[in-house]
């Protein structure tokens, strides 16, 4: 027998199947159906982790989701690594590789354990706040590395996660959360009439507490057999979906519940292409919560040694897995459920050294049973301390006198201590659903009050403790008749004793743990209260009680009771911390689902993408678009490529894909009036066939978009917007059209994707297009700057704009997107007769900056007015109203010291400023004095033969010629304020 603590028979594991696994590199064997925790206990391994602050040796406390101590990392190789898993929920599979955490060099010999010996107070409540205060500079060098080293959780995976994760949206009439007695009963009853029912349970097998009750009979059947039959009945019903290994982790508005289903973590061999986890986004007509209750530990000195665990957990290990928690047990209980554990263990051959009961008298049934089993019961008694380093070896017993004082009585040798501190309803999901909790004074527990949604709590989570009560509530909730008869049960009463157990020892010298995972002691909570914290929310944050990955499942109520005691107030008056999703940690992969890598966001490509790729383009992301950034020749740097492209455009010409510009067709009898109201410019007199630069403001008077707008017909405008602004502009237009200007007959259509746009810019632009157009006179006289013609080009229909974003003679050829590549190739071939270049967005930026053309979002930041940009000429001053007009005369908009757009010329012409850099009046910035503004655009300009920049500077237009400074890490850079135009100031090049 290699598993010394495995019972000879019993439990639901498959004893025929031996499962080898390793823990911290050492090989063990368990059985199919084991968890890592049950298999380690079976092998006599009590030590499973080290605590967070003090590095104290810790064993398993619970048997399920509540486990605070036994956190492990599971590694499957190939990037599959998951830290901080609860050993109690890790299913054993062949070849499982698990490691303990927070120890060095090993679990048994851990250097960090010295933290346990430092004088009391150093790691006390609020130690983060007290210890790491000053000096400020020490944070980075001293405190942060220390905290990171000391923080005792698992390490972050280093490799990309090779698994994939999936999402499913689902609907049902009734969702049942939890498949214990109450949940199975509710599911059976609810599904009888054909309602669509989904049952979700976190465990691999359904049945919950029914699997831990060997003596209990339901309608004469053993409880586990009844559960198996109930599950079989549900499986046979086509209207029922049963989800095991599925945690309902979050409960949101309108019965929207998030379920995290683990699909492959329990398998030795991973199936190819199967998702690891599935997140269910479930909308339920009704939700039945049957989430059970969580047993609480007792807060006594040294209550954290390996071998000290919850009594209910010990029953689970014994009855579900056939594992004894030890050979000599002391049971410390506050209610009858401790007796149930003692009786089970005694029958399995564990020597029960004593049942230590806080109460003067046990319950009637428990007393009878204890008597029959000849258990040694110590009433009105407590444990006041324990001994043993890597495993508990003894418990100190004290007798509580009538006045509440404790007198030491004896030491009892043992190798496990079972704590039955009372059961607390798992109201987490109920609370998340915004249901209000009520406090049950008699039992000292919070219970669900009035639900906020179509929801019902049944069973232990509703305070109905024990199998009989749970079945009754479950069947009633499902709308069925009487529940089956239950016999042989010792039902827990719930609640019971909470807070710190009294003892005779010096409270300053003992550690009685409340929060095992975050190492918070009763002393810490009392200290927080002494230091002035009154609200439990503040006490929680100051002490970190309940803030670890277990979210206080075994510590919140004890912490609350200790705080209430210290404040001398009833528990409900101290408040209750908020229960937040997720109930147990959910992987990032699960939330991301398929939204990763190339599926993270759609990719938008223009018609010429493949051509650009073939011609060596480097791309940049602009919103979702891939845009050609620059076209380097072999061996050419970005700087050289951009300089060449810019020079070529101005010397002969260039071709540029401008398809990503947003395009909106504004159509209708009131189109011009609509444009008048949405743009600052006047549109009434713009003739069909002409274009105008349009400026769009929000109602606050700030520039939000711009673009060239062509009038095709009296009732039709071709609007262009910035690349990123198209959806926002259309929404803005729709908003006013639908809700304010409802008198206007106008239709808006997004046409961004319909048109490919090819900009041909430079002195030879007209010569390139001349042989390609059909039925359009593009001569200088017939088609002036800022005009628009419809006709054909390269054999396909076009809207041909004569516009320039470079300052050179320029056209923008709009063709239906399907013809974009063919048109581009034809234009490109023609342009090669003149030695023109394809240019990308970087050259486009440089060329426009040389002319001082703004880019909305670069020169503007949502606080910039037309006047700030020197664009007053674009405002139709005679118009009675347009969106933003009234705001332009608010007092703040007229201040002389507003930041205005200016140019900057650095004293050193080779110095290219950093975009976004702050600008100051003094070379050395004066503390407390705000910056004058910031650099908005900056480039090395081939046309200017030096660096150029644009900037927003307070009162900038009155500072022409002044020197300002741009402080940088390497020293301040001096620059002179100038007009924001650096090339062809009189615009003579527009006509070629």
């Amino acid at each position: 027998m290699t598993q010394p603590f495995r019972t000879a028979a019993g439990g639901h594991v498959d004893r025929a199947r031996a499962i080898p696994f390793t823990f911290d590199g050492k090989s063990y064997t368990g059985h199919a159906g084991d968890t890592l925790a049950s298999a380690l206990l079976a092998n006599g391994v009590a030590l499973m982790g080290r605590s967070f602050k003090y590095h104290r040796p810790r064993g398993v406390l619970g048997a399920g989701a509540e486990e605070p101590n036994a956190l492990v990392s599971v590694s499957r190789g190939g990037g599959r690594f998951t830290p901080n898993l609860r050993a109690t929920q890790v299913e054993l599979y062949e070849g499982l590789v698990a490691e303990s955490q927070n120890r060095w060099p090993s679990l048994a010999v851990d250097v960090g354990e010295v933290n346990n010996l430092v004088p009391p107070g150093v790691f006390s409540a609020g130690f983060y706040y007290k210890t790491f205060m000053a000096p400020a500079g020490a944070w980075k060098g001293v405190y942060e590395p220390f905290i990171r080293k000391a923080a005792g959780l698992g390490v972050v995976p280093r490799e990309p996660d090779p698994d994939h994760y999936t999402h499913r949206y689902a609907f049902c009439d009734v969702l049942v959360v939890g498949a214990g007695a109450a949940g199975l009963a509710a599911a059976l009853a609810a599904s009888e009439g054909g309602a669509r029912v989904i049952v979700a349970d976190e465990n691999p097998a359904m049945g919950g507490g029914l699997l831990d009750e060997p003596d209990l009979a339901i309608d004469g059947q053993p409880a586990a057999a009844w559960a198996a039959q109930a599950v079989a009945t549900l499986v046979a019903r086509t209207n029922v979906t049963l989800l095991t290994r599925t945690q309902a982790f979050g409960y949101y508005a309108q019965n929207f519940v998030g379920l995290a289903q683990r699909l492959t973590d329990h398998l030795a061999a991973l199936p190819a292409h199967a998702p690891r986890e599935r997140m269910w986004k479930l909308r339920a007509g009704r939700v039945v919560l049957a989430t059970g209750a969580i047993e609480q530990p007792l807060v006594f000195p040294d209550n954290d040694r390996p071998g000290i665990m919850l009594a209910g957990a010990a029953r689970t290990y014994l009855n579900r897995y056939g594992v004894k928690p030890g050979d000599h047990a002391v049971v410390f209980t506050v209610d009858d459920s401790g007796y149930a554990a003692a009786l089970d263990l005694a029958r399995a051959g564990v020597a029960i050294a004593a049942v230590v009961d806080v109460r003067p008298e046990p319950g009637e049934a428990a007393a009878l049973a204890a008597n029959a089993a000849a258990l040694r019961v110590l009433s009105a008694s407590v444990i006041t301390g324990t001994s043993g380093r890597l495993r508990v070896s003894g418990a100190e017993i004290g007798k509580v006198g009538p006045d509440g004082t404790v007198r030491p009585v004896e030491r009892i040798a043992c190798d496990c201590v079972l704590m039955a501190g009372g059961w607390v309803p798992a109201v987490h999901l109920f609370s998340q659903s915004r249901g209000k909790l009520r406090f049950d004074d008699a039992r000292g527990i919070y219970l669900p009050g009035e639900p906020a949604q179509a929801q019902l709590s049944v069973g232990a989570c509703n305070g109905a403790f024990g199998i009989a009560a749970a079945l009754a509530e479950g069947f009633a909730a499902g709308g069925a008749g009487a529940a089956p008869a239950v016999s042989g049960e010792i039902a827990p009463m719930g609640g019971g004793f909470q807070g710190a157990v009294p003892h005779h020892r010096d409270p300053q010298k003992v550690k009685a743990f409340v929060d095992f995972q975050n190492d918070v002691t009763a002393k810490d909570i009392r200290l927080a209260v002494r230091e002035g914290f009154r609200s439990i929310e503040h006490v929680k944050r100051y002490t970190t009680n309940g803030m670890a990955t277990d979210q206080g499942k075994t510590s919140n109520m004890n912490g609350l009771a200790i705080a209430a005691g210290a404040l001398d107030k009833p528990v409900p008056q101290v408040g209750l911390t908020t229960f937040r999703a997720p109930y147990t940690p959910v992987t990032f992969g699960s939330f991301a689902g398929h939204s990763r890598d190339h599926l993270f966001d759609p990719v938008r490509k223009t018609a010429t993408h493949a051509w650009a790729q073939a011609n060596g383009a480097v791309f940049e992301d602009v919103g979702l678009w891939k845009r050609a950034w620059y076209f380097p020749k072999p061996g050419e740097t970005m700087h050289a490529a951009v300089a060449r492209e810019c020079r070529t455009v101005r010397d002969t010409g260039g071709v540029f894909d401008a398809s990503t510009l947003g395009k909106i067709e504004v159509v209708g009898p009131d189109a011009a009036e609509f444009m008048n109201r949405l743009y600052t410019n006047p549109w009434t007199k713009l003739e069909p066939g002409r274009c105008r630069y349009g400026l769009m403001l929000n109602e606050q008077g700030f520039v939000i978009d711009d673009g060239v707008i062509g009038r095709l017909a009296p009732d039709r405008f071709h609007v262009t917007t910035t690349t990123g602004g198209a959806p926002r502009v259309l929404a803005h237009m729709e908003d006013y059209l639908q809700t304010e200007f409802t008198d206007l007959k106008v239709w808006l259509t997004s046409t961004t994707e319909q048109w490919a746009v090819i900009a041909v810019q430079g002195p030879n632009a007209r010569r390139v297009l001349q042989p390609l157009v059909d039925g359009i006179d593009i001569s200088r006289e017939a088609m002036p700057h800022m005009s628009l013609r419809e006709g054909r080009i390269c054999g396909v229909p076009t809207r041909l704009f004569r516009v320039s974003f470079t300052g050179e003679l320029g056209f923008e050829v709009n063709v239906p997107a399907d013809h974009g590549l063919a048109a581009w190739e034809a234009i490109w071939a023609e342009s090669q007769r003149y030695g023109m270049a394809a240019y990308g967005t970087e050259s486009m930026h440089v060329l426009r900056a040389e002319k001082g053309f703004i880019i909305v979002g670069q020169e503007t930041d949502g606080t910039v007015t037309p006047n700030d940009l020197g664009l007053d000429w674009a405002i139709g001053k005679l118009k009675p109203d347009f969106v933003g007009k009234r705001s332009l005369t608010r007092p703040d908009m007229l201040k002389a010291d507003r930041k205005q757009l200016v140019g900057l010329l650095t004293a050193d012409p080779a110095a290219v400023l950093e975009e976004g850099a702050q600008i100051t009046a003094e070379a050395t910035p004066i503390r407390g004095r705000p910056a004058l503004g910031h650099v908005t655009s900056s480039y090395a300009s081939p046309a200017a033969g030096r660096s150029i920049a644009m900037a927003l500077v307070a009162g900038g237009r009155a500072r022409m010629g002044e020197t300002v400074f741009i402080p940088m890490p390497a020293g301040p850079i001096a620059a002179q304020v100038c007009e924001p135009i650096f090339h062809d100031k009189d615009g003579s090049r527009l006509d070629g």
Binding site: A253, Q254, A452, T739, P880, K885, R886, S887, R890
Partner: protein, 101 residues
């Protein structure tokens, strides 16, 4: 995720299809030029921000594209009614009475 009834589509649709649009029934003055600076600032920047029942604009962005109004309780997130833009605000007392809570 909320389910929101689009009064145009007459369907309950998930929140993801909608875009929030701020407080409803804040009418743009018909003649902004005659509005004082103070009143214009109130119109631009000041909203009721109640703890409780709130009339607000939503747009069914990924559906019919229409703006409409909703009455939502800002504490419970419960949407008590939705109605088309331009329709009068429903009587809140009746609404809260009808839903019981």
């Amino acid at each position: 995720m909320l389910l929101i009834r689009c009064p145009v589509c007459e369907m309950d649709r998930p929140e993801l299809e909608f875009r929030y649009g701020g407080e409803a029934h804040v009418a743009r003055p018909l003649d902004p030029s005659s509005v004082s600076d103070q009143d214009w600032a109130e119109y631009l920047y000041f909203r009721s921000n109640p703890r409780g029942v709130h009339a607000e604009r939503w747009r069914h962005t990924s559906g019919c594209g229409r703006f409409f109004n909703a009455i939502r309780h800002t504490v419970t997130d419960r949407i008590l009614a939705t109605y088309k833009a331009g329709e009068p605000k429903p009587d809140l007392a009746t609404l809260t009475g009808e839903t019981g809570r």
